[in-house]
Symmetry: C2
Subunit: 106 residues, 2 copies
DNA sequence: TTGACATGATACCTTTTGGTGATATATATC
DNA sequence: GATATATATCACCAAAAGGTATCATGTCAA
């Protein structure tokens, strides 16, 4: 629950692109902003919103802030969406129930 | 692809609640707005945005408009999120690859 | 300690968003 | 036809979002 922060963060295309970049490697704010034609300030705001949605987490190292992907928010959004699978695809729903069972036994 | 409309629509909590209501039953605009303390006009706007994101589709019947859940948009958002599973949960990723294979053989 | 570098923070601007209220149109129903 | 019902549309408003520019702070390196 509390998927609001995650869905709010996911609504912006720039933020989704940031997540894609962070899936390739952890990055500092500067490294992220190098990949966009936008000021550091704007990127910093996006990173803050991603952090609030628990889609990324941040580790400070000296004067750098290293951003990396965080499962929590992404999973909460994905779980919310997966609720709807049951309404049009029973087979998929059954398999995903199996996954949940499986992952609990880790 | 083109998941922007879906994610934009999902960002608002009222719209996510509407989807939950529509998962129980198809509803006219009036029936949806009866479930919220908000004007019909506001609900109509939300339904338009949900339709633009392909999260619902609408069938006209006389003077009524019947809204019902639509897999397309929800699946496109879910698929986008599922891409990230591979980065922290190999077992889950493997099982979901199996699902994709399975559902293609339908 | 001085200077360069990475980030933090703030004020400001424009556009979008989420909502209201009023009015118009189309369709049932009597 | 007259009237009630369901929705459509439009103007309007306040607040939030997305961006810039500027200045402050903390840290590394010589």
């Amino acid at each position: 629950m509390n998927e609001q922060g995650a869905f709010r963060a996911l609504a912006d295309p720039t933020r989704r692109q940031i997540l894609m970049h962070l899936s390739a490697a952890d990055m500092t704010i500067g490294e992220v902003s190098d990949r966009f034609e936008m000021t550091r300030g704007a990127i910093k705001k996006h990173l803050t919103i991603l952090e609030e949605g628990n889609l990324i987490s941040v580790q400070t190292s000296g004067r750098e802030r290293i951003n990396h992907l965080e499962p929590l928010g992404i999973k909460s959004a994905a779980n919310w969406l997966n609720y709807f699978n049951q309404f049009w695809d029973d087979k998929l729903g059954a398999l995903q129930s199996a996954i949940e069972k499986e992952t609990k036994n880790d």
